[in-house]
Amino acid sequence: MTAFLEFKDVRKAFGGKPVLKGMSLAVDKGEVMYIIGTSGVGKSVTIKHLIGLLRIDTGEIWFDGQRVDGLSERQLGPLRKRIGMVFQSSTLFDSMTLAENVALPLRKHQRMSSSDAEAEARRRLAEVYMAEFADRYPAELSDGMRKRAAIARTLALGPEVVLFDEPTTGLDPVSARRVDRLIRELADKRGVTAIVVSHDPPSIFSVADRVAFLYRGVVHVVATPAELRASPDPVVQQFITGQSSGPMETPGF
Amino acid sequence: MTWLRTRIEALGGRLVDAGRAGVELWLVYVSTIAGIVRGFASRKDRRGRPKGELVRQLHQIGNKSLIFIAVTLGFIGMVMTYEACNQLSRITGTFEMVGPQYIRLIVSDFGPTLTALMLATRVGAGIAAEIGSMKVTEQIDALRMSGVLPIDYLIVPRFTASIIMTLMLSVLGSLVMYGAGGLTAQYTFGVNPNSFFDLDLLRPRHLALGVIKAVSYGAAIPVVAGFCGLRARGSSEGVGQATTAAVIGSSFAVIILDFVISAAALFLFGGDL
């Protein structure tokens, strides 16, 4: 059985410097897969390839039985409605209220009237517990709130897969745990497949079904959180226990 | 009635703001001159002004704008001559006056003014962006803390460099305009180069006017741009706004100065420009 989402030996270099050096990963439908690793190792780069924001050099990427790495911008349109992405910087549009932000994809793709789209947008915001802020502007809100609104916007079109780029980085612990809970709810109650890029241990160990550890441009280890904790591999141990010195290669230090 | 009153209040408020800004701008100008005088007066007071900053600014303003000025003024020269010949062909049909009149206009007005307008765009934006980003990253405050007057350090070198360079680039621009104009006249209306490149009607007062204008523009642009830069607030958005304001402000200053100086000259020379 082919996996729902699969990276096959993907390579990508930026300006001559190789970042992904033969990365392979299979993600099952409905699971929450965390991609972890040190800064700069290529985690965000990996998921951006899935929706064509970056192009791979060699390798293959498969989604639901279809090869997706070579698609043109036009062909990517339908794909991007099935795979949504929540960016690290939330990327809400500053000039619109939260409701208008969430309503935008609804107006564009589901041909709803403005009032219908707005009503639906408020419903979506309620799902992430942000309904009371629907008429505020992103600049007025905290990072945690913006993140949740961004999630609501990504969910507006009902994608089957959602990519999260460091969803809890920079959030206070309470907001971070709220976001974690949301991600888990998505998978459990709505069958959404989630791929989460993270280096936040509480998140990793409380939400992930499986964890892929990216190191030196390849997937070093794929395991459940429990297996990871018990791993005898010294590099893995150094990362999850947060040691500053050890066998791990960290370029630039 | 209240609608009218709120409108008037708003207008009044805006006028007060404009007045205040005008006063500040004037203060910047005065401080700049004071800074220059200070520099001449005593060697000790040159602290904070790095050696070679003047040269760097000359390079920044002058060298980098060379091609830009030459290209834009070349094209303007071509258009102006074409239009002038066009107009004359409708009225008199003879072209002997085009060249001589043209050089008068270039030297006394268009050369310096158009050069300055182009420089206001390029240089004004650059100065405002540089000083603006220093302001929002608090480097200006840091300067003050170390006992250096920001005006001395930042604006005075640019001021001096701008005057020198505007003058030199005006000369270059004028030459390019003249030459391009002559070529255009020759190839589109068959005007004889000898009759075009005739300096007969040029008088010392035209040169004087041109120099006065070039110096005034060169003085105005860095003062206005620096002023806008120092007023930048916030983050990159504030710097962007400062840059825009600098371009508009310096361009407008050039136009107003042109008008004022030309009008003054008109009064002084009694109607023969």
């Binding site: - | 290209v71 834009t72 074409y82 934006a125 650059g126 958005e237 825009t244 407008f252 030309s262």
Partner: protein
């Protein structure tokens, strides 16, 4: 020593030329993308009206003031000359000719580029740097169709409107100066303009402003969306956009005057 300096100078010219070619190519590509997004026209109406409002409001005052003084300058330049030869009847024509065909469109376009064009570049550049453009793509919304096209249309429409208004204000400015400083009557100026200026003189200026608007819009949007390097990059993008627009305006002005004269 001298040889290597010469070599470096030539090198920098070459590098500059390559960069100009690259940028021109980029602008052409963007223009093509914009045109493609117009057929069939799926323009976001909200964005269009928002931009029309923003760009128009912002510039009316400065354009009117500039135009007034530009017209005044033209009168100052041609007035005395014409008075010396006693041909006050064509003073209005002389100033009006220059204003409608050249000074009006060019100066207003330059002011517009500095105000609206620069601001637009800064906005788009900041959006690009904060990943909002990627965010749009991830929602399967084409940033070109959604953001760029409405701005291009708004800028072109606004510049034409502003040029028409500015032309009028400039003519008034010319007449005002002629009256106050050259003692030429309002009516003389008016008839001089009305009798001698052709509709084509006005239209040529308008056609130019359409072309200028296009060039300013494409340059402004291109440097906005192709920005690189954070906050410093935004500043550089604005600078590049304004300079590119200025050069293109001069180039286009000559071409259009020569071809359409």
């Amino acid at each position: 020593m001298k040889a290597s300096r010469l070599a470096r100078f030539v090198e920098s010219i070459g590098a500059g030329a390559t960069r100009v070619a690259q940028e021109t190519g980029g602008i052409v590509v963007l223009t093509w993308q914009v045109l493609r997004a117009l057929v069939p026209p799926r323009i976001d109406r909200r964005e269009l009206f928002k931009n029309l409002h923003k760009m128009g409001n912002r510039s009316v005052a400065i354009v009117a003031l500039t135009a007034f003084f530009a017209g005044a300058l033209m009168a100052l330049q041609s007035g005395p000359f014409v008075k010396k030869f006693g041909a006050t009847a064509i003073a209005g024509y002389g100033a009006g000719y220059a204003v409608l065909r050249e000074i009006g469109p060019i100066l207003i376009a330059l002011m517009f580029s500095g105000r609206v064009g620069a601001n637009n570049t800064a906005e788009l550049a900041t959006m690009t740097v904060t990943e909002q453009l990627d965010g749009l793509r991830a929602l399967s919304i084409d940033p070109i169709a959604y953001l760029v096209v409405p701005r291009v249309i708004a800028m072109m429409v606004m510049l034409v409107a502003l040029t028409a208004i500015g032309d009028l204000v400039a003519l008034v400015g010319a007449a005002a100066v002629a009256r106050v400083m050259l003692d030429i009557e309002w009516s003389t100026m008016y008839y001089s303009m009305a009798d001698n200026l052709k509709p084509w003189d006005f239209l040529l200026g308008i056609y130019k402003s359409v072309a200028f608007g296009g060039v300013i819009a494409m340059s402004s949007c291109y440097f906005g969306v192709s920005v690189r390097g954070g906050a410093v990059g935004v500043g550089k993008a604005v600078n590049a956009a304004v300079v590119a627009a200025a050069v293109s305006i001069m180039l286009l002005d000559f071409l259009l005057t020569y071809l359409l004269g």
